[in-house]
Symmetry: C2
Subunit: 338 residues, 2 copies
Amino acid sequence: MAIVLDAMGGDHAPQAIVAGAVQATRSSQFPIVLVGRQDMLEAELRKHDTTGLPLSIQHAPDVIAMHDHATAVRQRPESSIRVACDLVKQGEGQALVSAGHSGATMAAALMGFGRIAGISRPALIALIPARTSHPTLLIDMGANADCKPLQLQQFGLMGSIYAEQVYGVENPKVGLLSIGEEPSKGNELSLAAYTLLEEAPLNFVGNIEGRHILSEAVDVVTCDGFTGNVALKTLEGAAEYISALLKAELRASPRTVLGALLARPAFNRVRARMDYEEYGGAPLVGLNSAVIIAHGRSSAKAMTNALHLAHRTVAMDVTGKINQRVAELLSGSETSPA
Amino acid sequence: MAIVLDAMGGDHAPQAIVAGAVQATRSSQFPIVLVGRQDMLEAELRKHDTTGLPLSIQHAPDVIAMHDHATAVRQRPESSIRVACDLVKQGEGQALVSAGHSGATMAAALMGFGRIAGISRPALIALIPARTSHPTLLIDMGANADCKPLQLQQFGLMGSIYAEQVYGVENPKVGLLSIGEEPSKGNELSLAAYTLLEEAPLNFVGNIEGRHILSEAVDVVTCDGFTGNVALKTLEGAAEYISALLKAELRASPRTVLGALLARPAFNRVRARMDYEEYGGAPLVGLNSAVIIAHGRSSAKAMTNALHLAHRTVAMDVTGKINQRVAELLSGSETSPA
């Protein structure tokens, strides 16, 4: 198996992307195909000792820029993201990783790989550092702004399979993001999704509120992509705000400056716990190949982790498992008396 | 003018509620009518020196409990919240404050006061401590789980008037909570609301993301009550999580314990900044009387602040201003060429 990497995507491409790929093949010997401008990628690779590392280059002359519209991928078959998708489609790799234009990556992946039979929409999983053993998976974090109840059921199922396969969570607890814990609380969408989640073959624990996302109450949070994106960005904003506020207050007197100096190891550990780079990226699930959408700001470290995540997603056959469980769900509902 | 207070509502009622009312009349001489069981309220008042304070009691034998259904108010005219609403309706007071069952309070207030002409739905404002000069107003924070675009426009308008009148914000910046700053980003509801907000007589600055709620980018955030409630609870959860994480890490070694001790004044100032008690409650706007929904957990201090907020809401005639601006908006749209 191999991972195909869009080496031209991301704010620090191709330097950080190539450096991350080199590190990933050093720590785990899975092949990586770097897709992008041959000359640029060769130049980047020469900066590292790549002797014996399973790295190869596939030339792609064009790049979709961050300011391009996502639909640009349709007209630009020579862009690195399109060439990368084609390689996976042709079986040259089993997973796609990109830190480039996320809308373009999703569009290219949907076009190239297609949806798993029975899956209504692919969805993006946010990996939230709610505990040390494994992240909490929030699905959908923004691929689908408007959703139907069935999609929220499927997001719960895909999230559950991902938590189980990739993070080894037994019987993952799935919660529905809503505005009260009682089953009667919610909006039209969540109320209808509640019923479908109760019927689904997963460990549905009911509604959860925004304040539970970071608690250990659930392993998987299912919601529409609008609500999920707002919640995720709100979390990020709160962490930044509190951190900035605390920094300013700690600077206010010599006593607190000294306190902050002594307390620094604790602050560093908290920062490390909240570090998005640890997870590397957001899995896009529901398509016929594994896809990891890495953060546009990805550093080499974030890229290495995104590549490891892609490797694990393929190794645990998440796509195959989703395929199988959805087929079971659909055949079950066909024969059910309802 | 007088404030009518449901003295039986809240986790710490009537003790904390009465104590908060006593304090409010001490610091500002507006009359307060305490509604509830005469014997209990008299006993509570005897605990304080109330000489010369403008406090009175209106007997109400019944109480809506937290576990009751909100619709119970319809059948229980002798409950403290219903009696309190009746007093306001009869002109005995100009604002209602309650820390009791929030659903029941909203139902009783809607039933008793009615909507301002032209206002589709009343909405709850969350006061978020995003800066020291004035809070950021998030509207709706949960009164309306499913909304129409017009309601989001009206929420923006009501929030803008509230920020202007009660907090003295000049030309308040109103942002629409969405999943990207570009006008093209959002769900069906937010995209339609965007157009209506552009047309409204307010300072609409476009979409904001969850991470901007705590920034100083806007003074007012408009959104449907489902999204608003999820965002607000997520903020609360993030603050609690980071605080707990930091506490645990600070306890990990003698060095960081000492650091924490020295840094304590800074931690206390950050905590004070994030303290919901400072604002006391959530204004419910869009009805023909001022209403403040205080937190169920309200302490005496929170209650005092809720009463001051109610006083200011009445003094600045927020209800009248909303009435007037909505009438202008509606007459404007009737004569517009569209």
